[in-house]
Structure formats: C-alpha cells, structure tokens
C-alpha cells in the first residue's frame, strides 16, 4: 500500500504543478461571474440558473481534467521512459497501475473540492443558505463517478496507442452515457428484435454515470438523497472501477514495456 500511495503522491504533485486545473478553474469563475452579472429584470436574487451554469462548468471541467490527466499517464511514462527506473524497483505492474489510478482520482478529488467550495460561495451569495450536506452528497457522488471514468480511461490508455484518441473516445463515451444512459431502455423497447435485446443488454452492462449526476436536485433544492442509496451507488461505482482496473492490470501485464 505504501508503494501505491507513493506513486499516487507523484501523480498529484504533477497535477498541482501543471496548469490545467488553474486554467479550468479561472475559466469557470469568469464564466460564472459573467452569467451572474447579467441584469435579469432588476432581480438580484435569481440563483438557480447561475447554479446550473456553474455546475455544468464544474462537470465539464472535471471530466476534461480526469480524462486528460489519466489518458497521458501511461503513454507519457513510456515515451519519456520513466517507467523503466520505476519498474526496476520492487514495484509490480499492478501496483504501478493502482498508484496511477489513485493519484488521478485523488487529484480530481482535490480539484472538485475547490470547485464545489466555489459553487457553495456562488449559491450562498444569493440564496443566503448553505445546504452543506446536500453539496457534500453531490460532490461525493461526482467524485465517485469520476473514479469510474479514471478507471476506464486508464484501461483505454493501455489499449489505445495515442493519448489523444483514448481521450476523445473516453470523452465521447462519458458524455454519451451521461446524456443518454438513462433513456436506452426506452429506446430499446421501441425497437424490433434482436436490436431490442442487444440494446437492453447494453443498457444493463454500461456503467450508468448519469446516476451520479444529481445537479437537478441541487439546483432546485430538493431533499437529501437517502444515505443508503448513496452507499449503494458508491458500491456500484466501486464495482465498475474495480472491473476496469482488473482488466487494465491483466492487459498491462501482457504488454511489452517498449
């Protein structure tokens, strides 16, 4: 575990020293600020549209960060050959991958904490209330979802040659699931066989990332999600992340390093 933790720390340090997060955060702040400065019928207390815009920017930024950070890990280690002195140490390939996963996941988690804190400030500035537990739930579910995204991007980085193609594919898949995942069953029911069974089967197989998108609940101040459901969702995400990581380790063990 110490080995995995050491590897993770290096990934976090790399993220902190790169400019990606700062650029995305500043962009989020600027765009949210611009949206908030619009005069809407001289009413300064309108807040939900601002929360929606801010959360959309946070989701886009976090997806971009998670995917780009993860997609470049293995290819960059290979290209810059830093993987050799590392694997010359008592580190297994599995530990190496787990360390990368943990590092990327922790790094986006830290970024999410900053983003959600900013979001809390934005909404509190107009609503004069701060539903901390609701925001914590949303942030937790968001982070857990990104764990799944990091895991399958890591698998993709071993399967696909170029980080750019892996990144594009992962982004399209994530966006597709987030937008359409919950509707696949409805579409399937309208199709003839065998397409209906195929699509319905895919509906059950894909990781339903949209389950973790609770923006509507936050924007419209709905009640807390039952903690049991949050726990189950966490387990659901953990299962998918574990499956993707196991697949990644299995493939990585069989690939030559150079």
């Amino acid at each position: 575990m110490n080995t995995i933790w050491s590897l993770a720390k290096v990934v976090v340090l790399e993220m902190v020293r790169r400019k990606d997060f700062y650029v995305l955060f500043i962009l989020t702040v600027l765009l949210t600020g611009t949206a908030g400065s619009v005069n809407l019928f001289n009413d300064r207390s309108i807040v939900r549209y601002l929360k929606e815009i801010c959360l959309l920017l946070i989701w886009l930024s976090s997806l971009v960060m998670a995917i780009t950070c993860t997609a470049r890990q293995i290819p960059m280690e290979r290209e810059q050959r830093t993987i050799f002195p590392l694997l010359a140490k008592p580190v297994t390939r599995g530990q190496f991958l787990l360390g990368k996963f943990l590092g990327c996941w922790l790094a986006v988690g830290m970024a999410l904490a900053v983003f959600y804190f900013f979001f809390g400030l934005v909404s509190a500035s107009r609503e004069q209330q701060w539903p901390v537990l609701n925001y914590l739930q949303a942030a937790w579910l968001h982070w857990v979802m990104l764990g799944v995204v990091v895991a399958f991007t890591l698998l993709g980085s071993i399967v696909f040659a170029a980080p750019s193609s892996n990144g594009t594919i992962c982004f399209v898949v994530s966006a597709g699931i987030l937008l359409l995942g919950r509707h696949l069953n409805k579409v399937a029911l309208g199709l003839p066989q065998p397409w209906q069974s195929l699509l319905y089967g895919s509906y059950f197989v894909i990781p339903h990332l949209e389950l973790f998108d609770v923006r509507e609940l936050i924007i419209h101040n709905w009640e807390l999600i039952p903690w049991g459901m949050v726990g189950l969702a966490t387990l659901y995400a953990a299962a998918y992340a574990a499956a993707f990581l196991l697949a990644a380790i299995w493939v990585f063990r069989r690939r030559p390093l150079n």
Partner: protein
C-alpha cells in the same frame, strides 16, 4: 557462496511487426555468474544483446527460456529488485520533481522508514554532489546533473547490486572520473556492480571480470588480466578479435 547474478541458458526472443512477425533472437544460451563484491563489465558491440540481458535481469522482459536469478531469487519476482539499484543509460526521471522529491519518492517505494529516509536522501545527495540543487526541478538540470541524480536514485536503497547501463555515457572527463570513484567506493564497501560500457579503457581499469557478448552469444568471460594474457593483446584488441572485426588493410 551464492552468486549475486546468475543466468542459465538464457534465451530472449522478440517478435517484431517490422520483421513480419518473424522472431529475432536477441540472446541465446547465455550462462554467466557474477560473484558478490565483484565489479563486472558487460561488453559487446551495439545489438549484441546487452540491453536485452539487462531487461531480463530488471524484470522488464520475461526470458523466452532459461533462467535468471538475483540473490538466488527468480528475476520475475518483484522482491528480487529490493536490493538492486539501476542506472539507465538515459536520464528517465520525472522532470517536474526536484532531486529531493525524486529520492523521497523512490525511498518510499523501497519502504525505507520515514525516520531514516531524510538522512539517506541527504547522504546520497552529498555523495553525488547535488546538495546545492536539491530543491530545483530536474528539468532545470544539465545533463551531467541529471546523470548524477540518476546515480543518486540508484543508490537510495543502499543496494547490494548496482546495474549500470553505460554509466559514463555523455559525461565529461571529470564526470566520468567521479563515476569511477563512486564505483570504486561501492566495491570497497563490498557491493556488486554490474555495468555495460563501450569505454574499454574504463572497463580495464575498474572491472574485476568481464563478459563479451556478440550477436546474442557469450564469446568470452573471465578476469581482464587473464583475457589479456590469453590473447596476448590489450582488452580492446581482444574485444575486436572476438566480435570478428577485420581492420581495413
């Protein structure tokens, strides 16, 4: 006494797309041993199989057949690498880390206790004369400094076996001298050093035994003095003869 490094009929094959999935044999039937406390030179022209052999010893590539052991442990076990230090030919380290951070990172990998870690990092940085630049990121280092940082990470776990791939490559004469001094000091401490080099003069000076590889096969192995006496020639001439080099008339 058990050898530090031992290979038995080691064979390494590569399948290459460029070769139309034909097999290239990089190493065949290599059997050699390195005794504890030796400085062992691993020589051969480009493409002889030196890097492939090292890749097997370091666990990067599995042997196609045969066996390789370090301290009696099969090289495929990660624990075999607990007591070795590796210095690659090129400086392959995380450029965004400082030398201090890099060494702390590798010390963590070796599970050196935190209490001991800082002292060990300080000691190694002083040894390679990078103490003054420890807080600077590696991307700001010159080639010589990066090579020294590489040597530092190879020594961080106080290894009993050092595997060095062209350790003086790209260094100026002073840098090369410093590396030789470090190798000599390690030998005096009873460490085993296994290194490949093209600098035959250097090898002749510091190595106890050498092995000469050509086209994946072991051509000669033994003490430098014995080889020189046997062939009545300098090490360079012995090398050229064994690899089949014919000088132009």
């Amino acid at each position: 006494m058990e050898p530090t490094v031992a290979t038995e009929n080691l064979r390494v094959e590569y399948r290459s797309r460029e070769l139309g999935l034909a097999t290239k044999v990089a190493v065949q039937g290599l059997s050699l041993t390195v005794a504890p406390g030796e400085v062992f030179g691993f020589l051969g022209p480009n493409g002889a199989g030196k890097t492939s052999t090292m890749n097997v010893l370091l666990g990067f590539v599995p042997p196609s057949s045969g066996a390789a052991r370090i301290f009696g442990v099969d090289v495929r076990e990660p624990i075999a690498r607990q007591r070795i230090g590796y210095l690659p030919e090129q400086t392959y380290y995380y450029k965004f880390l400082t030398a201090e951070e890099l060494l702390h990172f590798y010390a963590g990998i070796f599970q050196i206790p935190p209490a001991e870690r800082s002292a060990r990092v300080d000691q190694v940085l002083k040894l390679v004369e990078l103490d003054h630049a420890r807080k600077r990121q590696l991307k700001t280092y010159s080639k010589g400094m990066q090579q020294r940082a590489g040597l530092a990470q190879a020594l961080i776990n106080n290894p009993d076996l050092l595997i060095l791939d062209e350790p003086t490559s790209g260094l100026d004469p002073i840098g090369r001298m410093k590396v030789r001094e470090i190798i000599q000091r390690l030998k005096d401490e009873g460490k085993t050093v296994f290194f490949s080099s093209h600098e035959l003069g250097e090898v002749e000076t510091i190595c106890d035994r050498v092995a000469i590889l050509h086209q994946g096969e072991l051509k000669a192995e033994g003490r430098v003095a014995d080889l020189v006496a046997q062939h009545a020639a300098s090490l360079e001439q012995v090398f050229l003869k064994l690899v089949g080099y014919q000088p132009q008339p």
